[in-house]
Symmetry: C2
Subunit: 273 residues, 2 copies
């Protein structure tokens, strides 16, 4: 099974692929999110896995845009706890580190820890797994990278400190995309996007189609359309699958109000703890 | 008037400060978002201005967290179109550029344009305005930075190409924070956060307090609490001010359902076009 992801081998997205699909999966690294969607569309990969929201940084609208642009189905979700590891050459010692390199977002998430290492120079590079490769190439025992534990193993490098992020609750949700609809099973979620006429109470009416049927929402988000101020897309995830009559009826009801409605797919809910 | 922002002089946040407060404001650069809140709390700055959502990258939950942690009021909002400029030394020519440096997010937003410049090496550095300073220090006519037009002017550098981002609709919304509540005026918005008992239809009931009073919502977003899976914060912005009886009644009604409710503030609505 081939699963496309954005980033280099050892990236957090690759960790999500392996956690979700198991160790005998073939992760296919792609340069950009567009390339992940293209790989699944052309069949050069069986599935794709893209981050859709993060507990600190919010929704990744770019991937919602790509879901809208491409004709693929969401067939799964996966929550990954992002744990940053400080990584040096084999034999390197924490007390000798004088320079730390990584992606700016990883550096920012470890700011408190990095402050505690006195006299260390911080430099940003293009990505987390790439920073580990760079330290390896430099061969300098005083330089360390910040990336996933897996990146250390993959490049034969050494973990100097684990879970160094300031906020331990750094959770990223990924969606799995496929050319065909999946098998949502009993404990399912469905992701949709829709737009409404700009009228008072329009969203309340739209939400009534779920509330009147006791369907639980697990996500709701309005997204302003920048081209048309004061018009919105709404992203909703709800408990249940479109294969169940009650959800199918709710969506038929929603179509009475919606200017536009797209069902991304129904899929098994990932219960992280 | 002193207004704190995160970043260096010439950053996009500084552009938002000057657009909103006028050219005779004193922008106070701060290293981190926390420092912006601290500057306003201690009175070393009169106001602070922080990004809260972006049309491509979603809500900046970190700043919602800081709003919750600090006891400040939201007294205004400002929408800024982010336009990236390619910036070189005075006398530099576009056709001679061989290396472009900037913040990774700016580089990513200009990916298509950068591909069109053949044989150019791309390098990431810590921030946009900082990349302009670096090109100036290098004194190399073949290196360019990507930052705001204002950063070019500020550092005495030259704009080589304007509006080079791939998606022209790159809009960032900022909130203005102050120790005292502001003057919302006639055309106001109010920002709140609340949590609800985890029960079917809970959010629908909460929204009814606005719908039953014909109060328009301009934003709704659920945010899962990572520490407590399946519990949420809800961020809502609505049209109107807490000084108006109808909004005050809606909030009193919401308190009947909410486990927790915090009003960040009422402020004049910014009508961008």
């Amino acid at each position: 099974m081939r699963v496309a992801f954005q980033g280099e081998l050892g990236a957090y997205s690759e960790a999500a692929v392996l956690e979700h699909f198991g160790a005998d999966t073939t992760p296919i690294p792609c340069e950009a999110f567009d390339d992940v969607f293209a790989a699944v569309t052309t069949g050069s990969s069986d599935y794709g896995m893209v981050p859709i929201e993060n507990s600190l940084a919010g929704s990744i609208h770019r991937n919602y845009d790509l879901l809208l642009k491409n004709n693929l189905s969401v067939v799964g979700e996966h929550y990954l706890y992002v744990n940053h590891t400080l990584i040096g050459l084999p034999g390197a010692r924490l007390e000798d580190i004088r320079r730390v390199i990584s992606h700016p977002q990883a550096l920012a998430q470890c700011e408190g820890y990095l402050h505690s290492l006195s006299g260390v120079k911080i430099e940003s590079v293009y990505d987390t797994a790439g920073s580990v490769k760079m330290v390896k190439q430099m061969g300098d025992q005083t330089v360390a990278a910040i990336a996933s534990r897996r990146a250390a193993d993959l490049y034969g490098m050494q973990a100097l400190a684990d879970r160094i992020q300031d906020n331990p609750e750094n959770l990223t949700r990924f969606l799995i995309i496929s050319p065909q609809p999946g098998e949502p099973g009993e404990d399912a979620k469905t992701s949709i996007v829709f737009s409404l006429k700009n009228a008072p109470g329009a969203l309340f009416k739209a939400m009534s189609v779920f509330a009147l049927r006791d369907i639980d929402l697990t996500k709701i988000e309005s997204r302003p359309l920048t081209q048309k101020p004061f018009e919105y897309f709404f992203y909703i995830d709800f408990a249940g699958s479109i294969l169940e009559p009650v959800a199918a009826k709710a969506l038929a009801h929603l179509e009475e109000y919606a200017l536009f409605l797209r069902v991304f797919g129904s899929y098994p809910r990932h219960r992280y703890t």
